[in-house]
Amino acid sequence: MKQVFKRPKSLKDVPFHFCPGCHHGVIHRLVAECIDLYDLQEKTICAASVGCSVFMYDYFDVDVCESPHGRAAAVATGIKRARPENFVFTYQGDGDLAALGIAEGLHAANRGENITIIFVNNTVYGMTGGQMAPTTMLGQTTTTSPFGRDFHREGYPIRMAELMTMLGGTTFSARVAVNTPKNLMQAKKVLKKAFEVQIQNQGFSFVEFLSSCPTNWKMTPEKANQRVQDEMIPYFPLGIYKDSE
């Protein structure tokens, strides 16, 4: 019988620690599929981040370097400059990239570093227990925006994929989601393009994944998927925002 579905080679055979319904596992899988597709397992170095994705070296079977909170893009810059022959990506949550690490992310893009940033936006700080993120939606309640995010108090949710397009060094910037099979398949296509940009030495590529967090949103996985569709996508529209390869 022909095997039609199997674990990507670049993912270790261990169970994920992620909560039920969380999209990290799916996004991990898509990234690993692309690593396999382009035969990059032996030449990839990842700059990991902190937050829910901190254990990625337990899952990805590639070389991984831990980074201080927010600094993955700077760590990736150091890695890529020292080893331009390697494939280098960061995997960062919204606290990591859009708060602490916004300078590192924007400046790596602006320098046109030949790296790929995988940005996972779930509008909340997951690991620390559901506090407000820079991407938290207006009106969304979190443990530190108990009355709902109000732009007078807390400002607006930051749209990173659009922000990245403003920088001259950005070659590719896109936003995708994995809440439906259709979106997931589109996400894979977009991710492949981002990988190709780096493989062909064309500069900085950025992919924002909209992700669910059923635990901190206090929702079932199904309702969380629906929230991505009904609330997140209208404010964070999917699409390729810049493609100058």
Binding site: E42, T44, V64, R71, R83
Partner: protein, 350 residues
């Protein structure tokens, strides 16, 4: 025999040239006075040897670029001055925790806060106590001349690779800005096996460099391992003595002030006062055992620092219990002259 290559250069350039002689190929930094000649020199000269210079967006970014380059096994450096080093502390802590080598230069200035740009030794505690969070240490080398800036920077790269640990070169504004003739001797960088580097998992298992240990007992084990490493670093203890054999009073000073006080000691000798100098070159690990041995023969020490009293604590911890330790501190903002320090020596000499 070929003529030695001697040039008149300033202290910061001397550090940059020492780094290049040690085969440093990557530099990441952010401008701050009084160390800008280091990035300026390397921005001009690194590209010619196939190296990379990046002026980062911040001190924080530059230390993390150093972390990334160090993780691949490359020889890399960053430099800054006091407030900038404060910003780098998080990254230095991560490098120590993940056992990633890298050289960090602090041409320190005066603080706290924005302070000023004049020389100071107010960063001694920060340099020798870890500086960042957690139970870690970095090797700290303290040059006192433009020549030593060159030599100790080269040495810093070897020590950093040898111990898989960040190494700090601690100078100050005076040592960065002054010009002296420097013998730019060639140097054979030591090669170290680096079976831990991230290069892509070709033909081997994948690796990760991390400082996170959540399983019960793992972090304790890791910290004990680091502690053992810090014990081994004691083999690198370096210090210099001057006229201590017959001394009644031994001045203990490091860096720029040790250089100034040598002149004061010469003045004292001319007047028949038996004064010598003990100068730590490694501030961590501190030369506590040589100092202790000296204190069994000479019981009077005079610690002089460009701060209100930091290294004096290490001297007190090192010397024999019966020894007397006097202290003179000059807080930042002005530099003492040899005459002024001679007057201070006279006050404690008996």
């Amino acid at each position: 025999m070929s003529k030695p290559n001697i040039e008149l250069i300033n202290g910061n350039e001397s550090i940059a040239r020492g780094a290049m002689a040690a085969n440093c190929k990557y530099y990441f930094g952010y401008p701050i006075t009084p160390q800008n000649e280091i990035p300026e020199y390397l921005s001009r000269h690194l590209p010619a040897v196939g190296g990379t210079f990046i002026q980062a967006e911040s001190e924080i970014a530059s230390i993390n670029m150093l972390l990334g380059a160090g993780a691949t096994g490359a020889r890399a450096m960053t430099s800054s001055s006091s407030p900038g080093i404060s910003l780098k502390q998080e990254g230095i802590s991560y490098m120590a925790g993940s056992e990633i080598p890298g050289v960090i230069v602090n041409m320190s200035r005066s603080g706290p806060g924005l302070g000023g740009i004049s020389p100071s030794q107010g960063d001694y505690f920060q340099a020798t106590r870890g500086g960042g969070h957690g139970d870690y240490r970095v090797i700290v080398l303290a040059p006192f001349s433009v020549q030593e800036n060159y030599d100790l920077t080269m040495k810093a790269f070897d020590l950093s690779d040898k111990y898989r640990n960040p190494v700090l070169v601690l100078g100050d504004a005076l040592l960065g800005q002054m010009k002296e003739p420097v013998t730019l001797h060639p140097y054979e960088p030591r090669e170290f096996d680096k079976p831990w580097t991230l290069t892509g998992a070709k033909g081997r298992k994948s690796r990760f460099l991390k400082s996170l240990y959540l399983n019960e007992g793992d972090l304790t084990k890791h910290n004990w391992k680091l502690f053992q490493k810090y014990q081994q670093m004691k083999a690198e203890i370096e210090y210099q003595t001057y006229l201590v054999e017959d001394a009644d009073l031994v001045v203990v000073s490091f860096g720029s002030v040790a250089r100034i006080i040598k002149s004061s000691i010469n003045m004292a000798r001319e007047q028949g006062m038996k004064v010598g100098l003990f100068r730590p070159i490694t501030l961590y690990p501190y030369p506590e055992e040589p100092l202790r041995q000296l204190s069994t023969k000479i019981q009077h020490f005079f610690v002089v620092e460009l701060n209100t009293g930091q290294m004096v604590e290490d001297v007190k911890l090192s010397v024999d219990k019966g020894a007397q330790v006097d202290f003179y501190g000059r807080p930042p903002g002005s530099i003492p002259t040899p005459n002024e320090l001679f007057e201070e020596i006279k006050k404690v000499y008996r």
